[in-house]
Structures are given as C-alpha cells and as structure tokens.
Symmetry: C2
Subunit: 530 residues, 2 copies
C-alpha cells in the first residue's frame, strides 16, 4: 500500500483509517490482531488478507466509491472488510443481520451495492433476492481453504495497491438506520470522520496496545462504533464473536483476558445475570450506549470489577458522541446519587464539538435540568449526508446543526440527560425500530382498520413495541395472529410484544394522539425512554 | 468562544487545539488545570484568563496571524499564551530562554513580533533591544494584582470572542530552531498539526484526566512537544515549574502526585542521581527524547518505578514523531538486549506516516540494521514551512519528504536507529547547537585564523562542542580566553567545552575534513551521536 501521494504537501496526509492498519502491521507484525475461536491472525496476516481482498475487489471490477455489502456476524471477514473495501476505493455497507429478507433486499438495492459477502448461516435471507448484478461470495467462516471467502481472497495479490483516496472527506461507509420513516436511511461516513472518531474511542475508553476487545457490539452498528478502526489503530487484539451468548462471552472474558467490550444495557443485563457471572481479576471497561443504564445495572456491573462508561450517540454520529465523564469528587456521593449522575448522557467527546439542547428556534434551553429541548450536534463526528436523500439531509441539518430527534434536559453543569424522543422510534436492545414501519406492516393484515405503535418499557430490552389496533367492522383477529402476521412482514425484533384492541384517541382533525397512549403506558415516569 | 462557523458544513469543524480548552472548561470547570507553587487555577479560571488575554491582544491591535512573542520559563502565563494567542488569531513565538540578547533580538525581528511578554527575571535579556514597535508586557509571575501581566489580563473582557480561524492549516505557532546555518530558522506549525499531534501524545504516553503532568520540558521546545495542548485536551493537571532543579522536581513528584514528565536524557541523569531520588509509589511515565537513553539510565529509571518511553523528533515535526513501541515479548530478553532495543528510535506515532530511511536517491536503504541512510518524514506531523525561507523549505522538502538530517540504520523489524548526523549540529542537553554558529563566533577573536567545531561525547550533556583552532602567525590565545570570548558572543550553552590548538585536516581543495576530527574524538564508537 502506498501512502506517498506526492501531489500533496509534505505536511498533509489525508486522514484515513487505512493508515492505522498499515502502521500496526509495520510496528507490531507478529502481534495477535484477530482471535476467532482457535484461529489467530497476526497484524501481518491481517494486513495481507486485507490487501488480497482489496485486490480481488479491484480485479472483479470495483470502481471508485462502489458499494460493497457485507451481511455477516462479528467474524474476521467483516473486520477485514472495514479496511479492504476502503483500500480498494469502495464504500462498505455492513448490513444488520437481524433484518428480514425484504429489508435486506431494499438496502442492497438502495445502496446500489455491486458486491455482497454473506455468511453461510445468513444466506437463506438473500437466497431469493435478485442478485444478477451483485457479485456474491459466501463466507463459511471456517478460515479453511475450501471456504468460498477463503478461495476468493487466496486468489488476490499480495502486492500493495495504489490508494485512490484524494480527499479525506470521501465516503468510507454507508450504514442504514431505522429513522422516523418506514424505510431505513443510509448514513454516509467519511475517512476523516472515521479516523477522528476512532482516535476519540481510543482516548475515551482508554484503549492501549495491551487491550483485548471483545466483539459483543455488532460491527454493523456504526461500524462497531468505529472500534473496528480504533482497536486496529492502537494495535490491540480483536476477539470475534459469532453469537452474543452470555456463557460464551463469560468464557472468552476469562480465557482471552478481555479488557474492553461494548453494548446496550440489554446485553449487560443478560451478562450480569448469567450463571457464569463472577468477579473478574483485572478491571474490564464496559462501554454502554443505546439506553441509559439503570442504577441496579451499574451497581451490579461495578461489583464484578467492570468499569462502566456511559456514552450516547446515533448512527448519524458514528456511534457515541457524548460521554458521561466521571468526576472524581462524585465518588464521595451516595450510591443512588452516583447512579443518577452516571445515567446522564454527559457532554461531547474530545474530538467532538460541545452538544447543545435547543428549542424550536434553535435557542439554547436554560441549563436548569428541567426545560426539555432537542439535542443538536455538529462537527467531525456528524455524518456527511443521507445517501441519495438531499432533502432528508437538509431537514436533519437545518439551522447548521444535526437534529438528533432526542429530547433532553440540560443540567447546570453542562451535561445533557435524555428524556424523550421527537422521532417516532423505539430502541429495543440497542436496535432502532421505526413505529411507522411496524404500523405499516400491521395494517396489511386484512382484519385491521387502523393501528398505532408506541414503545413500552421492558425490563430486558429497555423498550418493546406495543400496537393499539382497531378491527374492521365484523372482522376478527387475535393478538397472537397479528404478531405472527407481522413476523412474516418485518424483522422479528420489530414485531409488537403486545397488541391491544381499542378505539384510538384522536384529535378533532382525526390525527392519532400517541401521547395519550404513551401516558397510559408510561404513567408518571420522569423519562419516556428506557 | 464561538465555534459555530455556520458557513462550514455541519460535519466539519476545523481541527484546532482551541476546542480542547473549550471542552475541558465545559466538562470539568472546577477541576484543577494549572498548579504553580501555591497557585491553583481551575479549568474555568484557565479559560477565563485565556479569554481575557486574547481579548486584550485584540484591543491592542492584534491582526490576524500577527506574531506574539513570549520569553518565559514554564509558568502559567506561557501556558495561557498557547490558547490565548491563537484564540485572538495570532501566532505564538515561544522563545528559548537560554539564548542571549542578540539571538533573542534576531528572533523578535525575524518573526516580526508585535507583542513581547517577558518574564521579570529574563527582562535584562531584552532591556537593550529596540522595542518601539513591540508592545511589551513584563510577567512578574506572582499571580498578584500588581503584576503587570495580571494588570494586562484583568483589563480584558470575559466575553467569548469571535474566532477568525477559517482553515485548519492556518499557522498557530512559530518555533525557532538552530539548524545547520548560523541563524535559527522559524518553523511554522498549523492548527491541524497541533491538534493531531496533541491527540498523538495523549495516546502514546497514556494521558488520562487523572494525569498530573510536570513541566520539566521547556514549553519553548516545540510548544512543549504539544503537551501544552494535549494535557489540556484530556483535562489533566499542568504542574508548572520555573526552574528544572532536581530536588524541587522530586518534591513536586511526591507532593503533587505527578504521573508524567518529559525531557532529554540529561534531565533524567540529573534526576536519578539526585540525593532525593527514591522509589515512587505509583508509576510515573517518563518520556525521553533528544538523545537515546543509555542502558544504565534506563535501568535506573525503571528501578525508581518510572516507566520510560523513548521517542524521537525534531522541531520540524512538532516534537516527537517516532516512538520505540515496546513489545511484550521483549520482557523475556536479558537486560542489556532490552536496553539496546529500547535505545532505538522506533517507528511512527499513530497519527504520523511511517518514517523511512533513504539513500541519496530517495530509495529505501535495506532493512538490515547496517546500511546508513537519512531519516525522512512526511504527514500531518511535519511543519508547514520555514517562515520566510521558501528555499530552505524546498530544500528540506525535496523529493516530497522532510529531510531530518539524521542518519540512521533501518532494522529488519522496521524500527529506525540513529547513528550520525548529516546536519552540522550538536545536541547538548536537548538543545540544538549549530557548529557553524559557534565557529563564526570563535573566528571573530582577533588571534584566530580558522576553526572547526564538532560534537564530542559528554557524560552529563550527551554532547558538547569542541573547537579545533589555528592561530594567526605570531598571535597568542589560551583555551579559557577563547571560551570566555565566545560567551560574549553567543548563548553560554553553545560555547565550546574544549579548545584544541592544531592544524586542521583538509582536502586537497582546502575543505576542512571534520570527519577526521570526529574519528579522533569518537574512536570506534558505533554511533557518532550521544
């Protein structure tokens, strides 16, 4: 790989995560970069595999900024793609493996992907999709010579390839997120943003070259919050994980000496309640986002010698963008107050601009912990655009700030604390669910007249969708029937946990008043998110 | 301070260390940012003082990119200048306090500085200089209301000021270095470079917000290797230090719980040999540059519970640019071999491009640890230019790489190891000395016909200058006379430690053969630097 770019001034190298792998492979060639079961790849191996994959993408006709889709769990192939695809000059589309076939088909088509790498177990999801223009490679994830993915890369060249990157603001990845509309939107990340966010993660979570990072967080979520690039930059060890089973995670924590892992509170609850849960010898940094961790969870996490770090962000912000930075003096406070402080989303990462909480006129709300406004964000940690959706981008960027759709109070000390959402989405186990998408799926059922979906609090998942439906005159359907029907339409995790049959509260103009339903389900809770 | 810059895309904020102070003051307002004797400034205080100083510079007529000189030891005023000067839109010129009056006068004039802030004790150095066009403020360093510097900032405004920065590649600092010519050259740093190098220092030396950084390294050296900005970014604590006295340093290490400090081996030798030297309770990271640390020194450092980090760089590279990254498996080797490995300069920082060792045709020398070539560097850690010297810049940047002038071998594992210098400079206690400048000073003595100055090894200072002189026919001078004469011309640390009277070895065309003199003094040492 050549980074010479002689046309650039001597004092300027375009910021790109590609330099991280190049450097770690040069400085720590024999260090273990990737662990996957019994497989071990050194940084030199890792780089060689990446170069081969990149060269093959070129050989099969990849042109600059072509999209390359991966539908894989957290396995070496997907990690390698985080470097090989941009090295070849393409844009990585890491698809959520929890989606159904239609949803995946939509993303493949909308992104215009020219390549698809699909894990053997997930192949049924794409089997029936139109794939004529899609060069498809199955990943057996065996690492053995017969694995189609291994055959593909084995034919690649070991010679470093010319890098096409001319400007650090070129796209590196395209990540689809469930927004407020029924269809997911594609979020464009740049090389510059990915580079800076990776450095931010290293600093904020204290990664070092002795770190062993366990891949509990899906790599398809914001490219693993940029940890794909961050752990590589610091020359730590990636520990891959096909399935987030808590007993296996506990086994790996002990066997591999894990120092860091990330996830939503749902994952953490599952882990701390596993029969294998026990004090770890060396402290493990556990970075939590997706929903505020509860005091009970925090206490349990700490009792296991885990060090909890609470962060907040969105797909549009490369993952985490704020952190609840801990103040030493807070250690003197009682446990409940400590947990209350830690449940706040905090303030910007070192590499981010300070976030604001604003009213509808883009004016700061008072820092009094009471007035609610919208969290707005700007800076190098904000996406470049929604792919192919200039209007949606302009709306999200109105007033010169990215509108998160999250409602928060602003505390006197400058920390923000989320309270509710403007966006009609549900966050369940760290996954976004568009209520509109669920509603559209439900009303396809022949018995249903109309429907409204809201989030309800759930102990395990944080939130789950609940549907309120009105049946057509004379029609009949059971709760289970509707749920089952829904599962034929959209990903299982998006389907309602409960269905209630009732009249829907409406305004005089006929608009459904979801807030009435929410009030009924959430009662007088201070926060309307969980 | 406003970073809004609404004309920029939402996803782009110009990289600038200014954001570091803004963020730390917002997130950790009450945390101690600066310690100086009994004085303590919180991050909020620090920011307020910086804003006042910046607003005063504007009030006194600072225009964009005006140079603002500081001649101060490591005191709060100079640290504040690292943010206030760029906040106002100026370029900071932190002058080496070990220079003499003429040299300082040259820098003030060459830089075109419009402001001079000078420490009370250093005022005699500038007393006789022409200062009509130079707004001069004395810094008593008392922090008390009567201190002229305190009066100056007390008149400043507390209101945040509009930031003029439009492009992250605008200059932030101008640092003069003794190069190969008689006169120092001014090295231009950019906001982007300063920002990235600061993040690099945080990551490579493991700074956290619990870090307490002791200012043993002069802030006038590469802006303290960018630690002025790095420690602020991470919201650590700066511990200022007027004088590098080893007993005081030991006192502060214990009293303030220092976690990090930096310096040349000379400082480290002084410290470990101080009567107060004793095991520290918590490990202290000691970052060493300026010359390779000896095995004896490394062992002594480690025995005190200091963790040595060996780095290498130049003024032209914002301070350190390579690091001898330690490999865990090296801990198994015998102590001597470990020290040998650690004495190598290593490879690039995470934020830097990999460095190369090249021959005269810019081809890589073999990685065999034997063939010597020049170390060349490029990337975001390279200066923008030599101020006002386009030809010198072009020469330094020939072939699209910055030429360090340092000669090294390239080991099989990619690490570099310095062996000699192309540039005719001496590095004594971390300070560069131009041999040409010393020669020019000596030949002004009426008795001297000609002279050649080379470095000789010195146990305390690493290297010291030695002059070989030929007297005019019939003239007479003693060694001490020549040294004393020299001290009237140039800074004391630049004057020869020894003078030898002899014929100078020359080529047939009359060029002095310094290598003959070096061979005589250095014998068969593998390295011709120390």
């Amino acid at each position: 790989m050549s980074h010479t770019k002689t046309e650039k001034p001597v004092y300027r190298t375009e910021l790109s995560p590609l330099s991280f792998l190049q450097r770690s492979a040069a400085v720590f060639p024999d260090k273990i970069a990737v662990v996957h079961g019994d497989r071990r790849y050194s940084y030199k191996n890792f780089e060689t595999r990446v170069i081969r994959l990149a060269s093959q993408l070129r050989k099969y006709g990849l042109e600059k900024h072509d999209r390359v889709a991966f539908l894989c769990p957290n396995i070496p192939a997907l990690l390698e793609a985080h470097f090989a695809v941009p090295m070849a000059g393409g844009i990585l589309v890491a698809i959520n493996t929890r989606l159904n076939s239609d949803e995946i088909g939509y993303i493949l088509e909308h992104s215009g992907s020219r390549f698809l790498f699909v894990d053997k177990e997930l192949f049924p999801l794409v089997d029936k999709l139109k794939k004529e223009d899609l060069h498809t490679v199955v990943v057996d994830d065996s690492g053995e010579p017969g694995d189609p993915f291994e055959i593909f890369i084995s034919e690649g060249s070991d010679e470093s390839i010319e890098i096409w990157l001319e400007d650090e603001e070129e796209p590196i990845a395209l990540n689809y997120t469930s927004g407020t509309t029924g269809r997911p939107k594609g979020v464009i990340y740049t090389h510059r943003g990915a580079y800076l966010n990776a450095l931010g993660e290293i600093i904020e979570t204290g990664l070092t070259n002795n770190s062993k990072y366990l891949w509990t967080l899906p790599m398809f979520h914001c490219n693993g919050w940029c940890f794909t690039w961050a752990v590589t930059a610091i020359a730590g060890t990636h520990i891959c994980l096909r399935k987030t089973e808590s007993s296996l995670i506990w086994e790996l924590i002990r066997k591999e000496g894990v120092t860091h892992f990330n996830g939503a509170p749902t994952l953490m609850v599952m882990l701390v309640n596993d029969p294998s849960a026990a004090l770890v010898q060396n402290p493990v940094t556990v970075t939590i986002a997706g929903a505020p961790p509860s005091p009970t969870l925090i206490n349990r996490i700490k009792s296991l010698n885990f060090n909890p770090v609470h962060v907040y962000g969105l797909t549009e912000t490369y993952g985490p963008t704020t952190i609840c930075e801990w103040h030493e003096e807070w250690n003197m406070l009682d446990a409940e107050l400590q947990s209350k402080l830690r449940a706040r989303q905090g303030q910007a990462y070192i590499i981010s601009d300070l976030v604001r909480v604003v009213n509808a006129n883009m004016e700061d709300v008072p820092k009094n912990g009471a007035v609610i406004g919208e969290v707005v964000i700007r800076g190098n940690n904000v996406m470049k655009e929604y792919f192919g959706l200039p209007e949606a981008t302009a709306t999200a960027f109105r007033g010169g700030w990215f509108h998160s759709g999250d409602l928060a109070v602003w505390h006197q000390d400058g920390y923000i604390e989320l309270r509710d959402r403007l966006k009609d989405i549900i966050i369940s186990g760290g996954e976004n669910i568009s209520t509109i998408e669920v509603e559209q799926a439900i009303v396809k059922h022949p018995a249903i007249l109309e429907c409204a979906v809201i989030a309800i609090p759930d102990e395990k998942w944080g939130e789950r969708p609940k549907a309120f439906v009105t049946l057509k005159r004379g029609a009949y359907a059971t709760e289970q029937e509707i749920i089952d029907f829904c599962r034929t339409q959209i990903a299982h995790f998006k389907c309602p946990a409960k269905v209630e049959f009732s009249e829907l509260p409406k305004t005089s103009t006929g608009k459904i008043q979801k807030y009435v339903l929410r009030a009924r389900e959430w009662g007088d809770k201070e926060k309307k998110i969980n």
